[in-house]
Symmetry: C2
Subunit: 131 residues, 2 copies
């Protein structure tokens, strides 16, 4: 894919970003939410690996570039008003979160309003992230 | 729940908002993404019905207030860095999108880069939204 034909249907925010929900293509777990700019979206579509724009580091963030845990993009959808993207991925290594948890959404709110941890650590971050 | 104990774990943006991914509690379809501020989050937790902050109208948006298609909140999770919320809901009426589609993400990008429509209209917006 050389051009993003549907770009005119997308609304990027004042920083040139659009949020992207990342869902496991098989079991439909919501793994994480990250942000893309036009270039990282283009790269994602061309390489079929999820590439975001890191707001904290202000640079491209090819997910898995350090850990090897790439996200292979199977499908991409956009919402009705064009201000959000949803991608369906195969999560290499089985975990998306930098903590080693499968999903970044591993903390749930209990009936009493406390946070409880759900799920297991898939990998040890100390071993996966060398620095 | 009178107080949001986990509020200190959340990061609201410069407009006081946090994105919220809405997932069907049963079949795990991602239905939509909307934004909450502290008050709409509090209201969501108290009433167990999803309440957002409408950025376009700059007011509370109790989802379903006009259509009757409320979102009954079954669970709420937050992500690792506390800048995104995920809620699991029962979508009354079966559709979340104002177009009548089940999910707002009903447009998928084809291999050629075109948008294709997926899913069926669950309701007729003209009948559901009177004005």
């Amino acid at each position: 894919m050389k051009k993003i034909k549907f770009l005119k249907n997308l609304k990027f925010d004042s920083s040139g970003l659009i949020p992207c929900v990342v869902q496991d293509a098989k079991d439909r777990t919501v793994l994480m939410v990250a942000y893309m700019n036009q270039d990282s979206l283009q790269r994602t579509l061309q390489e079929k690996k999820a590439c975001y724009w890191s707001r904290s580091r202000q640079k491209f963030w090819l997910k898995g570039e350090e850990s090897g845990n790439f996200q292979i993009v199977k499908e991409l959808a956009i919402d009705c008003d064009g201000d959000c993207i949803l991608i369906f991925v195969e999560q290499i290594g089985g975990a998306a979160c930098h903590t080693g948890m499968r999903s970044c959404f591993y903390r749930k709110v209990s009936a009493k309003g406390n946070l409880t941890i759900h799920g297991k650590k898939i990998f040890d971050p100390k071993k996966v992230y060398k620095k």
